[in-house]
Symmetry: C2
Subunit: 300 residues, 2 copies
């Protein structure tokens, strides 16, 4: 049964990848002024990504009975933000990673200046994508989506978390600080993905929102714990980035603070809590349930 | 008479600076998670900037009879985008400028990683500011503002222009390419400022929009020609950045392509065309007229 679920999820991830790639290609094809920058943006965002965040948007939209078409723009917007953050995080002045998604990072394949501009332009495109979406949603809802995504991206979200993470490298970090860093660095965008999906149906109730947000908090953290585990035990080829790079930078991780066994236990508990929190939602939330299992069993 | 106008404009610039600083301080004060990043964002965006783009928003809003309060959010949003672009443009991998607005650039005062994150967070904040604005405007109008600003900022606007500009450094550039670069690099945000101001009154007519956009095209270019002239003849203290840095990087500029006298003539003609294009607007467009003169007579 579990194997079947994973096959179904694999299919879904694959379908999501194709759907997102098609939509992103559509966005890029509108750009005519600067083919070289577009090429680098394409390199940074199409092919290779797992598309977990877009799938969270689609799965959350599905859980509240929204149409998949209305979830396209927010799904791609969160992926554009995620892609921009990877490009900037890989820069020499940041995490200095030469490899990403199994190929040279943008600053290696192009140049550092291009990588900075690619990240900048991908961020703008995310907000352009949300503001220009041709969906059945009202202007108020589209505006709320932009509010949620901009907040999750900026100083009170992902970017703030990355700043705290960089500072933490040179300090002794306690578990509570680590959780706070990751709540912002990866959790904020995962939560935004879930919230954007829920907004795709104007009839989503406050109660459904609360359930989905609790779910998001749990899998956001589970995702990060698993990332730390993979950084410790994965291999470079499967990960698509150098294994052990966190340890090499003597970064505080869940593994370094808890040990590998406790970290695994924590990830599994979070995943279970996430699934439990969906109890009141019907079968329509099944993809979210599968994702919560996948997040802690994935190997890359 | 002309002197009087400039005194009035100086006052207006000063008032705009205070108004923008107050509004930006309000935005920053909402951030509680990451005081160190906020401090660097503050450093990058408050104090010292001329605030020409916000003044363009206010002046354009005034020209169409909109309220100044409704122009606050778009005025600050364009300034946040402008500030982020300066921080990233100054990075070693880009223009490598150690000085900005008379003080060390963000990557010198803080670190390169911080400068990258500051630019990223300022961009997010611009869209957050537009999506959360408490103005009398409709959600549709706010959404249109985000559409305009995101397009002007991204690959089809400022960021695309900066990418072309960086590439142009190592190539022979003709006048037409130079104009195309600057239409994107500086022109797009100036035009967006004017368009956002015009949107602050829902009754702005298509004709008024066209007039204001023509004006924007002319002063956008005039602004850049004057920037090139100042880079050639200004001094470092007045400019607040190293004089002659374009020449040092053997960048194509209006001065290098046309010579100083022709460049001056061009700037003045563009300023005159900008003022002429406002003929059908009433006295309410006077600040725009003064700005068009100021743009080509400013010394920094």
């Amino acid at each position: 049964m579990e194997t079947q679920n994973f096959i179904a999820l694999d299919n879904l991830l694959c379908q999501t990848q194709k759907r997102v790639d098609r939509y992103l290609n559509g966005l890029f094809s509108k750009s005519i002024s600067n083919q070289q920058l577009v090429k680098a943006m394409h390199y940074a965002s199409i092919d290779g990504g797992k598309r977990i965040r877009p799938l969270l948007v689609y799965a959350s939209a599905k859980a509240v009975g929204a149409s998949i078409e209305d979830a396209d723009a927010p799904a791609c917007a969160v992926e554009l933000i995620h892609s921009y953050s990877l490009v900037h995080d890989d820069l020499p002045a940041m995490d200095d990673d030469a490899l990403r998604r199994g190929k040279p990072s943008v600053h290696k394949a192009f140049s550092e200046a291009t990588a900075i501009l690619v990240g900048d332009a991908l961020q703008s495109l995310a907000f352009q994508c949300l503001s220009q979406q041709k969906s059945s949603l009202t202007a108020e809802t589209k505006l709320t989506m932009i509010e949620i995504l901009s907040e999750a991206t900026g100083v009170e979200g992902m970017t703030g978390g990355q700043a705290m993470d960089l500072r933490a490298e040179s300090h002794n970090v306690k578990l509570k600080s680590l959780e706070n860093i990751h709540r912002l660095k990866t959790g904020a965008l995962i939560k935004a993905s879930i919230r954007l999906g829920a907004l795709c149906n104007p009839k989503t109730t406050d109660k459904q929102f609360t359930i989905l947000e609790n779910f998001a908090d749990n899998i956001g953290l589970a995702f990060q714990v698993q990332d730390d585990i993979l950084d410790e035990i994965g291999d470079t080829i499967t990960l698509g980035k150098p294994q052990g790079s966190d340890r090499a930078q003597s970064k505080a991780t869940y593994v370094s603070l808890l040990g590998i066994d406790e970290a695994r236990k924590k990830a599994n508990n979070l995943s279970k809590d996430a699934i439990d929190s969906l109890a009141e939602l019907s079968l329509s939330a099944n993809v979210l349930r599968e994702l919560a299992s996948f997040v802690v069993t994935r190997i890359r």
